[in-house]
Amino acid sequence: MANVTLRNVRKTYTGGFEAIKGVNVDVADGQFCVLVGPSGCGKSTLLRMVAGLETVTGGEIDIGGRVVNQIEPADRDIAMVFQNYALYPHMSVYNNMAYGLRNRGMAEAEIKTRVAEAARVLELSAMLERKPRQLSGGQRQRVAMGRAIVRQPKVFLFDEPLSNLDAKLRIAMRVEIRKLQRRLNTTSIYVTHDQLEAMTLADVLVVMNGGQVEQVGNPLAIYEKPATTFVASFIGAPPMNLMSTRPDEIKSQLGGSATEADIVGIRPEDFVITDQAPAGGVALPLTVEAIERVGAETFVYGSREQEDQRVAATPGELPPGEIIVRIPGTDAPAIGQKIRVAAVRPKLHLFSADGRTRIEA
């Protein structure tokens, strides 16, 4: 059992590329920490630095009160689950799990007990003699987990462990991982690009972008009070609608201290289709352009009269001027219809012009 502390951790490659630009994270003992961010944000690099697979070029990594910068991966008392599982293809399931223990000179009897226990927990007992190629994806995933569990390490590291599974299995395994971690109460660091996985698994959520930490905190707190426009659009699906307040249409509605805000963000689920304008809130006229019915809820894609007022927070987002509204049920307006949507004041997220500062008002 241990806490993990990253103090101003940096990674600069020999070519001069700075992959990690000074990260500070504190994971308390037994907590489940999720690193989330788009591809190339440095989250995997950071995890591999904690594992000892990448050198640390600045700052300190502290596991259980010991700075491990110069310590070999095997001696850091960590276990890692890889994205492609990295099972030894020529070894049986039993040997895959026992290998790390044997290398540490553990007695065979103790190894047997530990592997049997892990296999029981992961429902692998019937396939201990099989080779990895005879297993399904989900079973391989569980063997990889088993290999980590038997070590009884201080810290589990997960590098996108579910991304090779199909959607249904991914959800099932997600729940499994969370239950297992709760029961073992082992400090865990988990890397994913899937914000849903991040939200559901994390005790502490670390949102990363461009080698830096954008926001750290409880997932719901981050959802409710994103610190930057990047976090606002990354956490939550469909993403938050971000609009410039510059046209008087919005600014005049906001009034008061909120006038210094240049960007206003509203989550699709916070809009209501109504003709009334709530005091201090925002009301917008929309033309319905597309409808997506998914059963329990419906997504309405609408365009505002004025183009280009929506702030594109990250590339590949909705075109400017497009607004997503999420309404419960299947009762939706027709395509081409003109509607008015509104959001009340507490549901507004206000940001400075560069999107780096949240404004509370």
Partner: protein, 282 residues
Amino acid sequence: MVEDEGIRRYVAHFILWIGIAIVAFPVYIAIIASTQDNALIANGQMSLLPGGHFFEVYYQTIFVGTSGSTREPVGNMMLNSLVMALAIAIGKIAISIISAYAIVYFRFPFRMSIFWIIFITLMLPVEVRIYPTYKIVADLHMLDSYAGLSLPLIASATATLLFRQFFMTVPDELLEASRIDGAGPLRFFWDTLLPLSRTNMAALFVILFILGWNQYLWPLLITTRDDMQTIQVGIRKMITTTDALTEWPIVMATAVLAMLPPVFVVVVMQKLFVRGLVETEK
């Protein structure tokens, strides 16, 4: 349409059988000739059916040898060839898998230069560097020895490249998982890389064993003692006789015996060999 299919199939089979006959006939002749009486062959009256001297001829070949030209039982020649071929095949695999491991998994100064030097030796087979190699072997007093027969042929750029290519397809995560599991470089090599290379090694062994077995020029040069002759050199010596009749049944029996070990290696290794070529699973 269906009848057409049938005729076509017979024609195809017929053509294939002709091909097989063309390839197999010389082998058949060798086997037949090795059971005939020498005088009959010398007269040009060799029958295409097996003669009655099978045991006699093979006994003489293996344990006595020809009466004139080689003075050495073929059994001993086969032993020499076998030792040489095994030493070359195993030595080549051992050396090249280790050097490939160094080149792929370690960062050391001049790593790429060393790789290219190994690569360039592809252009220097024994035939090209035969004089300097002979000089070195002679200076080391390795003439007429198994070491002299095999050592100079052991270094292999081809096998090194093959293993290098294979190692590069092994996912990095396996190495990383091994590191986290507390396996050092030697353990990773022994516990993970070697087992994964098994099929490659088997495929390579087949090729290299036959290569070693068929060596002619090098053994001819460095062996002068009769008891160090290899079988390939022996066959050639048996045929060229200056003042006596070539003992054809013995020559043919030797040829047949020379074919057996490679055939054995190919048949036994076939399964592993094919798997080595088709296995993509990592």
